[in-house]
Symmetry: C2
Subunit: 203 residues, 2 copies
């Protein structure tokens, strides 16, 4: 027993400050599943991580910097997790990304909701939110997806489709839609090509 | 001169408190064209209306109640102004309402934006916003519009279309879309039937 906990302590001390910081950020993001951003404090994290508040301040500077770091990590996780696969047709890729988005909101509901709401009034949150929102939308144009032409009207519609998707997933998650997850995914995936269908021919 | 201003003073005193309150609310809503909600204070209104702050407190109680009254009036104006005409087919009615919505946001941009943003964090604003959003969406079902069936999936899509519409109009108004007003209106009006087209047949 003492050997095991000794090995653990040793493993812990062998982590670089950067690794330790990343580990603490991971924990912060996991806490967002059931807590809003306002509820993620240094105190809560110190308790959950079983370390001192002083050490957390050492890693993150202050409360504001800590909250921003958690939000940036959560947004980066969202962008990574919704990455489309290399293989498959456009619709299969879209389904993959949309499914990952729904699962992300599902798993991180309180935190996601507080980020969406906070972005309306907090400039830092808005910046992080806009960056993530922009990165998700930009994928359609980076990848040269055949279902989405690169025109001003198409860009505007993609942005609108993203706002619609967020609204629908949050409504579904809040229990305000009488639809199961599969039916929701079907609507979301079908709606993007349907919207592209109204674009005037560029040719 | 003295007769005229005497007649004016007399006309003013003949207004009932209720009429005077309504007139002050109208002024409050007009101020939202170029001011956010946070910038609409009793002080600003007193200055614009040329009356004492004390009298405004008399009409509205306190600052919070005054702001809420202005927001409720603005939301009611939005619902009234976007009322579809009795005549015309569904698409003509939709175009009428969407045009009125775009014009409303155009004319009341700062106030509308601050309401949308404020609704994310302020429970009273959210209630007023949700009521107006709900009333605008409910129209499609009250009127039995042929383009919108009354199913859970259709209700969800209408809600998503509303979120998309808001996003697009705010982006357009912020100068973030390279589209003119007519092209924007065309996209908005065409997108609703396109979204309804993806619904599974209910029959």
């Amino acid at each position: 027993m003492s050997t095991t906990s000794g090995a653990r302590a040793s493993a812990r001390t062998r982590m670089s400050p950067e690794q330790r910081r990343e580990q603490l950020l991971d924990l912060g993001v996991r806490l967002l599943a059931e807590r809003s951003l306002d509820e993620i404090s240094i105190d809560v994290l110190a308790q959950e991580a079983g370390i001192s508040r002083g050490l957390l301040y050492h890693y993150f500077g202050d409360k504001v910097a800590f909250r921003e770091a958690v939000v940036r990590r959560a947004a980066a996780d969202l962008v990574t997790q919704t990455e489309p696969p290399d293989e498959g047709d456009d619709i299969a890729k879209l389904l993959h990304s949309v499914t990952a988005y729904v699962d992300f909101v599902d798993a991180n509901y309180e935190g996601y909701l507080s980020m969406v709401r906070g972005a309306a009034s907090d400039p830092t949150l808005r910046e992080v939110y806009d960056e993530a929102f922009g990165a998700l939308g930009e994928r359609f144009f980076d990848a040269g997806a055949a279902i989405v032409p690169d025109t001003p009207a198409a860009r505007l519609l993609v942005r609108g489709w993203q706002a619609m998707t967020e609204e629908l997933v949050l409504a579904w998650k809040a229990g305000e839609a009488s639809l199961d997850r599969d039916a929701l995914l079907e609507l979301l995936v079908a709606s993007l090509p349907a919207l592209m269908g109204i674009l005037p021919d560029s040719g």
